[in-house]
């Protein structure tokens, strides 16, 4: 459930199947076979690429004829994610009250027992002039 000012986009499952996690770990510079069946620290962010979430964010940007530019990212961890276990991620967003061209997208990850595992926050600029003078995506 979202708090005031936060608009829920979706609650989605975060699958941590071994092959998927291994491919991600290898892509971010690991061997693909990490110790302790550990899921890479930034893996949960991948839920933002889900069509229902990306589509909702692109709709927010489209209202301003803008594109999404990822400006900053943070994660706070309570407990490590384990390979092969199911997790739920509640994804919501809010506008930056001080900057009309900024939004924050939040993901809160819980395990099957409902325990909070981690939270991530993405600062996103709704970039309107299609000139790229900052930032990755």
């Amino acid at each position: 459930m979202s708090e005031p000012d936060w608009t829920l986009i979706a609650e989605v499952e975060l699958a941590t199947a071994p092959d998927r996690v291994a491919a991600f770990a290898a892509a971010v510079g690991g061997t693909g076979v990490e110790a302790d069946d550990r899921v890479p620290a930034t893996f949960a962010f991948t839920v933002l690429s889900r069509p229902e979430i990306l589509g909702a964010l692109e709709s927010v940007a489209a209202d301003r004829s803008a594109v999404l530019v990822h400006q900053a990212q943070q994660f706070r961890y309570e407990q490590a994610l384990e390979v092969g276990r199911p997790y739920q991620v509640a994804v919501d967003w809010r506008r930056n009250p001080d900057r009309g061209d900024r939004i924050v997208v939040r993901g809160r990850v819980r395990d099957a027992a409902g325990r909070h595992c981690q939270e991530f926050l993405a600062d996103i600029v709704l970039f309107e002039n299609r000139r790229a003078d900052g930032a990755g995506s």
């Binding site: 892509a27 990212q73 930032a135 995506s137």
Partner: protein, 137 residues
């Protein structure tokens, strides 16, 4: 607490330059699901106002974890954050620098490691920090 193994100001060895070429970026796109064409298609990147395809910001951030675990084996990462300063062109090499910015005493001591991502020219493309716990802090 005994003398810190890594005092404030301690600089970790820079990571070996990592080549983030089209194959690495494509592998990250597949593993993360982020197939935004500005990372994969030169024409689409130019149409978006970029000089060419750019590396996913989250691919850079993903490398933070490997750097931290290389410097501090067995470390427990409590938080990670990054700010994307400028795009990194596909085909560039990335180096991560780390420096102890702050020690946080407590029952379980923590430290804040300041992280900088530089391109081939030594220009900072991203900055961030990590809060970590390790037995030898």
């Amino acid at each position: 607490m005994s003398e810190a193994a890594f005092p404030v100001g301690h600089k970790f060895a820079d990571t070996a330059p990592a080549l983030l070429d089209a194959a690495r970026v494509a592998a990250y796109a597949d593993a993360s699901g982020d197939r935004n064409p500005i990372h994969l298609d030169e024409d689409a990147a130019r149409a978006a106002g970029l000089p060419g395809t750019i590396v996913h910001g989250m691919l850079m951030m993903g490398h933070f974890e490997r750097a931290l675990r290389g410097w501090l084996p067995g470390t427990d990462i409590r938080s990670l954050q990054i700010r994307f300063l400028r795009p990194l062109a596909v085909g560039a090499r990335m180096t991560i620098s780390g420096r102890v910015a702050k020690l946080l005493p407590g029952e379980v001591p923590e430290m804040i490691v300041r992280l900088t991502v530089q391109d081939d020219a030594g220009q900072s493309v991203s900055i961030g920090d990590a809060t970590v716990r390790a037995g030898n802090i």
